[in-house]
Structure formats: C-alpha cells, structure tokens
C-alpha cells in the first residue's frame, strides 16, 4: 500500500494537483508513525502507512489550510479521519475544493499502550507486523520474540469501527494489508463498551471515572490531537472570567473533560486520536462514546457521514424524546 501511496503522492505533487501532502512518516521508535507534511515529489519516499498511523491528520487541516490559502492540500485519511474531514467541511473550517483526500482502507490502529502494559515496563526494541501477527523483541528478551494476534491489540476505537473505508475521498488506495479485518465492520455493537459500562452501578461508574481523571496531568494533548478542538481560544483558557479551574484538583480535571466531551458532541467521530495522544493513558473515550451513543439513540445522528445534515444541537424535532423532564406530580 505504501508504494501506491507514494506513487499517488508523486503524481499529485508533480502535476500540481496539490501543493503539499499531509501524511505519515516513520517514527523514531518501534510502533510509531509520525505526522508529516511533504511539499515535493522527492520527499514522497518518507511517506509510510502502517498500523501505527494513529494520529488523526484532519487535526492539521484548518491551520495548514489557513497558512496556505492558495494551495490545494493533499491528505491521507482513514475512515475516521475522513469523517473528521467531512465534519470540518460541514463546520466550514475547510473547503472541499481546497483538499484532495487520499482514502486509506484501514484495518485498525494498534493500541501501543495495551502492548506496553502487557510488557510490564519492558521496552519494545523491534516490531514487525505480518498479516494478523505482531512480532516483538523486547529489552527483557532481546533475543527471542513475543507474538500477538493483531486483532487482540487493536485500539478500542477501532474494534467497533463501522467505517473502515473512508466516507469521502478523491482517490482510494487499494487494501493489500492481508488483514481480514480490513474494510469490514465488526458484528459487535458499535457501542458495546458503553453498554458494558451502563450495566454497572452508578458508584462503579463514578469510581472508574475518578480513577481515570486522577491520571490526567492537564497537558491538553487530547485537545491538541482532536480535529474538532480548533477553537482559537479554548474554553479552559478563557480567564476573564476564569470559569474553569485549571488546577489538578479532581473536580477541575473532571469538569474539563466533561465539558470538552460536550463541546465535541455531535462532532466527535470516535477516531480515538485523543486517547492515543494521552501520555497518561486516560480513557477519554469513556465520555465521548457515551454521548455518541445517546445522539444516535435519541436523534438518529451519527457524526461525519452527511455533510448536509444539520448538527444535532443545531436543530430539533418537536417530538424529540423528553423522558428526562421531571413532572412535579
């Protein structure tokens, strides 16, 4: 697939269809890929595609587009990324004509943290993926290798993903990953994690929420990684008045995450980029997926699929459910 990406990139850059391409380059560590912007055909060798391409590149689009108003911008997009791009078009942060989407069929992104915690502190020295098999050598056992079925260590955002093929693209790269999971949606309910949580007691959910929140160091990597956190000034940075506490006291942290989740409600496509960006491994999708499920359930709204459909909070139906309204009697 990398060859096809590079060929496409060379062609687009050479014939001037795009001025630059936002893609991924090899990371400096095993199981890492790093976002990059290339501007000429000679740089296309840098482009890679693998199961570590977990950043949502759409995040860069509004600022890159603003900085390069006269150029068309090429971008690699997985299913989730393409849904984010669609959302950004819908919110008029970018123009459809200003971008060229190279669609990537995706068989899921690895959950590096899951692997790391499984390795219990040992360092990954080398990693290799072949079909459904991930082979690692680690600092603990440099000589031997550890194997995982890829499907067992796929990120939770991907294991329930319904849109592995981009919903919007100008060219679609053919899948040759050999991964059986590619392109087909899983049988499981898209909201199975939320449903599992909902079946727990309120106390258990609160406990889980607090234990996740206590990990947060307020670095705002989640915000940085999110394509929809493009506000010029984030609500948490408004200081006249200072509505939001910036401390690491738990309620301040929890409220930041609740409000952030609410701000991306109806926009978040559950790409999981926030969760993967989080250095402390906070389960950020705990909140966003719940909202996603409720919007689907109550209003039949799924983000990032239809550029014309009004956002769920921008519209209403007179017969919207209102079972939550208290009747005094």
């Amino acid at each position: 697939m990398e060859d096809q990406i590079r060929d496409t990139a060379v062609k687009l850059l050479k014939d001037g269809s795009v001025g630059m391409i936002i893609g991924y380059e090899a990371g400096t560590l095993p199981l890492r890929a790093s976002p990059c912007v290339i501007t000429n055909a000679e740089q296309t060798d840098r482009l890679v595609w693998n199961m570590s391409c977990g950043s949502n590149l759409a995040t860069y689009l509004p600022s890159v587009a603003k900085a390069n108003p006269d150029q068309k911008i090429g971008i690699l997009a997985k299913g989730c990324d393409s849904r984010s791009i669609l959302g950004l078009i819908k919110e008029r942060q970018i123009e459809r004509d200003g971008i060229y989407v190279i669609g990537m069929p995706c068989s899921g992104i690895l959950d590096r943290r899951k692997i790391e915690s499984d390795l219990n502190g040992a360092e990954i020295l080398e990693a290799h993926i072949d079909g459904d098999k991930l082979t690692l050598s680690t600092s603990e056992h440099p000589a031997s290798s550890i194997q995982y079925p890829v499907s067992s260590i796929i990120h939770s955002s991907c294991s329930t993903c319904q849109h592995r093929t981009p919903v919007l693209y100008d060219v679609l790269i053919e899948d040759s990953s050999g991964n059986p999971n590619a392109l087909s949606a899983p049988d499981a309910s898209p909201y199975e994690q939320v449903e599992a949580m909902e079946s727990q007691s309120a106390d258990e959910r609160w406990e889980y929420f607090m234990s996740e929140m206590s990990k947060c160091i307020r670095c705002y990597a989640c915000r940085g990684a999110c394509p929809f956190c493009y506000c010029t000034q984030c609500f948490v940075d408004q200081n006249q008045p200072q509505w939001f506490g910036k401390t690491t006291e738990l309620s301040d942290i929890a409220i930041f995450h609740l409000v952030r989740a609410f701000h991306v409600a109806g926009r978040c496509v559950s790409c999981g980029a926030c969760a993967r960006a989080c250095p402390m491994g906070v389960d950020l999708m705990y909140l966003t997926r719940k909202i996603e499920k409720d919007l689907d359930e109550l209003y039949g709204y799924v983000a990032g699929l239809d550029v014309e459909e009004l956002a769920p909070f921008a519209t209403f139906r007179k017969d919207d459910p209102q079972e939550f309204i208290t009747e005094p009697d």
């Binding site: 200081n239 006249q240 008045p241 200072q242």
Partner: protein
C-alpha cells in the same frame, strides 16, 4: 565532598513570593473614560516602607486577593517616602478587581522588581522623556524624581513630550499643569485629536518630537508608549543624533513571578522582569524580536 544542594546556607526565612500589606489612601480617576485610576498605597508597617527601596522604572506585583496578582509600574517618585502610587488601567481580571477597590481597603504588594532606569548614567545628562498614552506612568516617576529639589541640579536640561489620543485620555493632568508653570522643564503635551475645549498642541508623538527637535548632545532619551508610537519615534530620534545606547525603552510582557523563575517573560536569554523591563535600543536590536 559534595553537598546537596550546591551552594551555601540559604535564608529560606525570606519568601520573595509573600506580598506585604498596604492600605489604599487615595484614588484618583485619571481619564474621562474612567478606565484609568491612580492608587496611592500606604504601607501598613513602617519597616516595610524602609525595605521597599525602589528606583524609577521599577515595578511591583500587586495582589488583589480573590483575583490574583499583576505587575504594575511604580508611578510615584522614590522621593515620596512612605507610600507608593500605581496608575492602573482596567484591562484584565486583576486590574478590574483593583478598580473596584475603595479607599481604606487593603491591597498587597511585593517588589520592587526589575532594573529600573539607569539613573547613574542619566545623572549629569540632558534628559528627553517621551511618553505616549497610558505608558507614561514610570516616566512620571522619573520626571518627578528629577524635578525634586534635592535632585534637579544633578541632571541637565529636562524635556518632556507626552501625548495621548484625546484630552480626556491624558493622565496626571494635575502634574502637567504644575510642570507647565516651571522653568526647569520643557513640557510639550499633545493629543492626536483635540476637542472643543482643547487649546493645546495636536499631533502624534513622533511628529511632535520632530517639531520640538530635542538636542541629542549629552542627552539620553527615555521612550515609553504603544508599539506603533515607538516604531515611528525611533527613526526621528536617530535622525536627531541619539545613539542606540542612549535611547531607553521599557517593555511589557506577561509576567507571573516577577523574579525570573516562572519562565514566561523572556526575550532570548533575558527576563523582562529581572533583566528589564528597561532596555536600551541598542540592547533590543541585539535581542530576538519576540515581544
């Protein structure tokens, strides 16, 4: 043998972050828009007044408990013992809270901070003070200091050019009228645009500076004002023969600690709070343009 930490005994009894108590003894509304006030603060404890030994051009961190802290240039002259004056524009949340304070209320202060104007260099020279708008505060401190009977002889000719947008925006009108009547200061007050009552000069500070044409001989000029004013005044001064090391500026930056620790006000390796806020134009030319 190494000891941890390196260095000798540290007097941690003194906490530079602890502000000292003062009481607001007087509040003067300076502008017609009612957005700039001068607060006079009296020290609660006499020993604090002794310790708060400052020079012109320094600033202090003012605490309004409940709102926070912010750096404000000291507008009083070091000759005014026992009290401090700060001229504050209502802008952020601390200054808004400050503006809502009344006489008799408590305000906390720590400082003085920053290098201040190079008084030793200024002594014996002619002084050209150029100020624009609200940035006149520390220049007022300097002017008052020079005009003090004990000091006046130690400085040469004093020229003050001060401009504001409109007559209502001029601050320290009481000082200006006092200075008007003196013969040991050449005062030029200008406004961008006058109103029906204005009989004085009209015109932007750079233009007026050109018209006044202060001599650069044996002179230092101290220029404070909005960036746009500085930008157009510097060429005028250069033309008048002021060398970059004799053009003195005072910078503003977002600050928190005021003592070179918190890391946000640096321009290159210089901290505006500690190594500044006063820099010569020569220094600024050799610093990154990041302010």
């Amino acid at each position: 043998m190494e000891t941890t930490p390196s260095g000798t005994a540290i007097d941690t009894a003194v906490n530079p972050y602890l502000p000292i108590p003062t009481t607001i003894t007087n509040i003067t509304m300076e502008t017609a828009a009612r957005d700039i006030k001068t607060f006079k603060l009296g020290f609660r404890n006499e020993s604090d007044a002794e310790k708060f030994d400052y020079t012109c051009g320094q600033f202090a961190e003012i605490s309004i408990f409940g709102a926070g802290e912010c750096p404000i240039g000291i507008a009083s002259s070091p000759m005014d013992k026992g009290s401090l004056q700060f001229t504050v524009k209502k802008a952020g949340h601390v200054t808004k809270a400050f503006h809502s304070c009344e006489e008799g209320m408590e305000v906390f202060v720590r400082g003085p901070y920053g290098n201040g104007f190079p008084m030793r260099d200024l002594e014996g020279s002619n002084i050209v003070v150029i100020g624009g708008g609200f940035a006149f505060t520390t220049l007022r401190s300097l002017t008052k200091f020079i005009l003090h009977p004990e000091n006046r002889d130690r400085f040469g000719k004093l020229t003050v050019i001060y401009g504001a947008r409109s007559p209502g925006d001029l601050i320290y009108k009481y000082d200006l009228s006092d200075w008007e009547g003196r013969d040991d200061i050449d005062l030029y007050v200008t406004v961008d645009k006058g109103d029906e009552t204005w009989t004085g000069r009209e015109g932007f500070v750079p233009t007026v500076t050109q018209e006044v044409g202060p001599s650069s001989e044996d002179a230092y000029t101290i220029v404070c004002g909005p960036p746009i004013m500085i930008k157009f005044t510097i060429p005028v001064l250069t033309e008048l023969g002021f060398q970059p090391d004799r053009i003195i500026n005072s910078l503003e930056m977002r600050m928190k600690c005021g003592i070179g620790k918190c890391g946000r006000c640096n321009i290159g390796d210089k901290f505006v709070c500690k190594d500044g806020p006063v820099f010569t134009y020569e220094q600024l030319m050799n610093m990154p343009q990041e302010y």
